[in-house]
């Protein structure tokens, strides 16, 4: 019985691992192929099955004038927009979440929970509903096709995530900790900065990670709200797919685009698994 269980356990783990990793391996090998190797049947092992070359990668940093696609600028645009929007969302979201968790708001029928729900409801409706208002709004303030405009839109999209995660987190931090800080001579701002925030690092990391992921992978708004001046990475990558699909550069750019998320995931995993952040408060 237990042997069968062990077998099944490892079988599914291996199965799942293959399922998850295989596309990456496929993309990795494909990125080193040229037109002939891609169309010459199923091949996986470099130097044996096919002759690897760096053409798919080189194209990414060549300017269009020299026959390249140049994803360097969109890459840094994406990094800049995602990081800025995530940072602002976390700051605003954490402050709102703290207020929602600790103070009572009341305006007629609207209470704390309704306000929290209002934030989350921004993520419930399909993005397409928001696209036209956003488009018109940005065009009226002349921020279409600009980094600032995109950052504004992303803050609207990311802040609900931060609020949602942090409200839940702050609700689990006992109020008595804030009260003790007040009694010990902190004013409410100091209590928040010196006591509540240092004990919320794990929550901040989780919220930040979600913001970065959702900001980084967004294609829809980046596609609708930009034209020629500013391009973000997802839009650029999709644009690679023209009449002849360049599988090699498509694979290379896909790998490059997931790299930051993998790095973030690794850092966060190391940080959280130290164990002294999660469960700091009983």
């Amino acid at each position: 019985m237990s042997k069968l269980y062990t077998f099944l356990k490892y079988f599914f783990i291996v199965f799942w691992a293959v399922f998850v990793v295989a596309p990456f391996l496929w993309a990795l090998t494909t990125s080193f192929k040229d037109f002939q190797s891609v169309n010459g049947g199923v091949t996986y092992i470099p130097w044996v099955d096919f002759e690897p070359n760096l053409e798919g990668w080189k194209v990414l940093i060549k300017s269009p004038a020299r026959g390249g696609v140049d994803i360097v600028e969109p890459y840094f645009n994406s990094l800049f927009v995602t990081c800025t929007a995530s940072f602002i969302s976390i700051v605003l979201g954490t402050l709102s979440a703290y207020a929602l968790s600790r103070y009572t708001f009341k305006a007629g029928l609207v209470k704390n929970n309704d306000i929290t729900f209002f934030f989350i409801s921004q993520r419930i409706m399909p993005p397409i509903v928001l696209s036209i208002p956003f488009f018109l709004f940005l065009s009226s303030i002349n921020l279409l096709d600009s980094l600032v405009g995109l950052i504004l839109v992303y803050i609207v999209l990311l802040m609900p995530i931060a609020v949602w995660i942090m409200v839940d987190f702050f609700n689990k931090v006992p109020r008595e900790i804030d009260e003790t800080a007040l009694i010990d001579g902190c004013n409410p701002y100091q209590a928040f900065l010196k006591v509540v925030l240092p004990n919320s690092i794990s929550g901040l990391i989780v919220a930040g990670m979600f913001c970065i992921i959702f900001g980084w992978i967004d294609f829809f708004f980046a596609f609708i709200l930009t034209f020629t001046e500013v391009q973000l990475l997802p839009v650029k990558i999709v644009a690679l797919n023209s009449s002849v699909t360049p599988w090699w550069s498509l694979s290379a750019s896909a790998l490059v685009s997931v790299a930051p998320l993998i790095i973030v995931a690794f850092i966060v995993e190391r940080y959280l698994s130290k164990g002294n952040l999660s469960g700091a408060i009983k």
Binding site: I177, E179, D184, C186, N187, V195, N276
Partner: protein, 359 residues
């Protein structure tokens, strides 16, 4: 210096958490707030600390309106029943926190913290993380943090309730030592508890609180000897005082077919609906006596609590040894009736063996 409150009321929902509470606390004294859970003890302490603002009433400290002073300027200290410390700081930093907040010189902070660590018995633990301490040690850290400030008002909100029996005894002893060591000289100590024994041991001025109302104020001994009502008698005794519905006729206390000669302090009471109160320790098992049936026998520490029944009358007897009984066993008991209390139908004290009222 004195802390005076006038008619404090706090009613956040349909129920009063504080109902017209008034008191006058003097420095150098220990005040015990005794009440059951949800009686408003924590609300009262939080109001004094400034964490809650009462709906009506006034608090004055040292002649100044205390309600106008924000929490962080009140110079109070508070220990909660849950062990509240700052999880991101180690023991030393936790205790030093209120001093750092006052921008006191590093070397003075170090000295003061080490002093306090010594008095709570945590020397050598400075570098430990809070999560690495036991419950008792965590509570000592919060006590140390509240002592280090030399606050004018020290609030202790059921500080021992979440500790196990052994630790509770030990820490209670340490509290008494700390309080008597002159620490209390310039401090108003306010200690809330649900435990009557703790109240008696601390032996301070007692405020009995129930449903947000002050029922009785007086020294611990006075509360014990002359509870002014049935409610106070219930709250200030553990197990609660036995209440027996009885009649006094021809100098005899009659209930359930039992006739007891009324002691002098009860003999003049003849009204209907009289309730006789007798502590569980004032009833003894005997070879002969009145027969009762065992409903339940609890063994608590070195004590046995016998729940007995006769007709409609149920009583609890505490015996200072561990005895085994079976349910439905018959036992014979004797009442130390000269220690009995009498309460009027409305719950007010009619007579006590210690000379309260009619006695």
């Amino acid at each position: 210096m004195e802390l005076v409150a006038n008619n404090l009321s706090y009613k956040p929902d349909d129920q009063y958490h504080l109902n017209e509470v008034s008191f006058n606390f003097q420095e150098g004294n220990l005040y015990t707030i005794l009440g059951r859970t949800l009686s408003g003890k924590t609300t009262l302490l939080k109001t004094i600390a400034g964490l809650l603002t009462p709906d009506s009433g006034e608090i004055e400290f040292d002649g100044k309106n205390f309600l106008k002073v924000p929490v962080w300027e009140r110079n109070v200290a508070m220990v909660y029943q849950q062990f509240i410390n700052y999880p991101h700081l180690n023991v030393f930093e936790n205790i030093a926190f209120p001093l750092k907040q006052r921008k006191i010189d590093q070397s003075i902070i170090y000295e003061k913290v080490m002093d306090v660590l010594k008095s709570v018995g945590l020397v050598g633990f400075e570098k430990r993380k809070i999560q690495e301490l036991s419950g008792g040690q965590q509570q000592r850290v919060s006590l140390a943090r509240s002592l280090v400030k030399n606050a004018k008002i020290l609030l202790l909100d059921e500080p021992l309730v979440n500790l196990d029996y052994k630790l509770r005894e030990q820490l209670r002893e340490e509290f008494k030592n700390l309080f008597s060591k002159g620490l209390a000289d310039k401090t108003i100590l306010i200690y809330s508890t649900t435990d009557p024994r703790e109240t008696m041991e601390l032996n301070g001025e007692v405020i009995v609180l129930d449903e947000g109302k002050v029922l009785q104020v007086g020294p611990a001994r006075e509360i014990f000897e002359n509870p002014n009502s049935l409610k106070v008698a219930e709250i200030s005794n553990d197990p609660p005082m036995n209440i027996i519905e009885a009649k006094i006729l021809d100098n005899n206390i009659k209930f359930e077919g039992i006739n007891l000669e009324a002691p002098q302090h009860l003999s003049k009471l003849t009204e209907d609906g009289l309730k006789i109160g007798l502590r569980s320790s004032d009833i003894e098992l005997g070879e002969s006596g009145h027969e009762f049936e065992v409903e339940l026998a609890e063994i608590i520490g070195s004590e046995t609590l016998l729940h007995l029944k006769r007709g409609d009358t149920k009583i609890i007897v505490s015996i200072e040894e561990v005895l085994n009984f079976k349910i439905h066993d018959k036992v014979k008991i004797n009442f130390k009736i000269d220690r009995a209390y009498a309460f009027h139908n409305d719950g007010k004290l009619a007579s006590s063996p210690f000379g309260g009222l009619n006695g």
